[in-house]
């Protein structure tokens, strides 16, 4: 472990800023067969809801140029099962804290999930997903309205002592406005961005490839949009940002931190390459030497200096 890689999120010191993104890493233990997942900074666990959900019909996946669309729709076994079964399995192979991602279809659901997560030692940060484009009634629409976003933030903050990070949707006119609203409402940090709404069509049948028609588009293709948004939000808020969107290499991590991220998450790239996070962590010190970066923390928000 290289001390130069360490970053701090709301008092929690991570060995490195590399966190697999929610939904692309299951509950983590699937990856233990590829490498020691304790090398990761942390793990953002699959979006969890109050009740078990199957999610959307298949096909749920469409390939794109340097990216993919997913319309999984928050498949998960429900919060009780997540805590009892999934976290337990994860703890057998992983000894750090997680970023626990929760979703809901009503304010009360977020609150109930937050209450339950609050009791779990394994939870280092509560990541509140108000930006899932793949579920009707809720999800993304919470993330496009600053007032509702702030309400959810307040309600969750009221029932937990864990740091609360709000995960923002990029499918908005003004992401800064929403970031400011959740900061004001007490958010401890911001995770951004979730997927962009996208679609693909089958040339032969003329039908949408995704059963749900649209889904969340992510991967290296969306990186310039994520970088722009992180840059804008860093300028406007004082709470830390976990930068997400198109990260696939150590270079991408540095660029995202320069834009303003304190840590980063890797999403789609885990799907195409199960070793993605490990490779990034291994390459970071080499790249830092090349660029003359002493400590990663030094470059957070450097573009703003």
């Amino acid at each position: 472990m290289d001390k130069r890689l360490s970053v701090t999120l709301s008092g929690w010191k991570l060995d490195n800023p590399v966190i697999p993104a929610s939904g692309t890493f299951g509950f983590g233990y699937e990856f233990a067969q590829f490498y020691d997942i304790n090398e990761l900074g942390s793990i953002a666990t699959k979006g969890t809801t109050k009740e078990a959900r199957f999610g959307n019909p298949t096909p749920r996946i469409a390939e794109c140029d340097r990216g993919m669309i997913n319309a999984v729709g928050l498949q998960n076994p429900g919060i009780d099962e997540v805590i009892q079964t999934e976290f337990k399995k994860l703890k057998e192979v992983y000894h750090k804290k997680v970023v626990a991602n929760i979703s809901g279809f009503a304010l009360e659901e977020y609150v109930e999930c937050a209450k339950k997560m609050d009791k779990e030692d394994i939870v280092g940060i509560l990541e509140i997903n108000i930006s899932c484009p793949n579920v009707k009634h809720g999800g993304m629409s919470f993330g496009t309205d600053p007032k509702i976003a702030a309400e959810i933030t307040k309600a969750v903050k009221a029932v937990t002592t864990k740091p609360v990070y709000i995960k923002l949707s990029p499918n908005v006119t003004d992401i800064v406005e929403i970031a400011k609203a959740v900061e004001e409402a007490g958010a401890d940090g911001i995770c951004m961005i979730n997927t962009l709404l996208g679609a693909r069509f089958d040339l032969k049948t003329g039908k949408p490839i995704i059963a749900n028609i649209m889904g969340g588009f992510s991967g290296p293709a969306i990186k310039p949009i994520a970088l722009r948004m992180v840059y804008q939000v860093y300028k406007a808020v004082r709470i830390p940002i976990i930068g997400i969107g198109g990260i696939a290499t150590a270079e991408d991590v540095i660029e995202m931190m320069i834009a303003g991220a304190t840590a980063i998450q890797v999403g789609a790239e885990n799907c195409r390459n199960p070793y993605a996070c490990k490779e990034i962590i291994d390459n970071l010190p080499i790249l830092m030497d090349k660029l003359g970066i002493e400590k990663l923390e030094d470059i957070i928000g450097r573009a703003h200096q």
Partner: protein, 247 residues
Amino acid sequence: MKSIQTYKILQNEPLTQNVYKMILEGDTSWVTNPGQFINITIDTEYLKRPISLCDYDDSTLTIIYKVVGAGTSWMAKQEVGKEIEVLVGLGNGFTPQQSKHALLVGGGVGVPPLYRLCKDLIEKGVEVEVVLGFNTKSECFYENEFKLLGASVTVCTVDGSYGTKGFVSEVIQGDLKNYPYYSCGPLPMLKAVFDASNTQGQLSFEERMGCGFGACMGCSCKTLTGYKRICVEGPVMKSEEILWTKD
């Protein structure tokens, strides 16, 4: 064990106009069952491409694939000697059952995974009836290979240009309806086989995949025994767990 491995292409030749056979040299110690699959890195595309094992030995994997889009077109262009990156150890595969008879039904590129299964069943002393379905004569492949294993083979073509005219399900008559079956092919074919048989079987499914190793939930399906991921708990499902009612 799942892992990313490098394989060297030993052979890459067309069997029909669009269907290629590729032999890959490298680690095969991970294989546990016929019907497992691998996920091939395509230099020009974002996601990997899942292809079933057709056969394997101590140092080679054989796959048969149809050129349908960008990824398989790229595969068809790769030359012997080239090394490719493959995610291996994927899927449950078929569980060859001890029984007197067995019925194997394959359609199109659903045929290849049945080849090694047929070999294993015959080795166990099972008498194997193979039914292979294709659209037309020019698309047929592997009839002879199955015969050489010692199986009894019926080929059907939709247009009747070779073998029996019609769908594979029409051949499943008499005793065949009572043989434990193993099937791989397009969804309507699987359903027809399921409907035609009076007994239990194993069916191999396809789905668009994000990861292929269980992380993304892209390939989920509902079964009588809960939600399953085609890439981990599948691609092979038992007929008893499938949410179908017989037509």
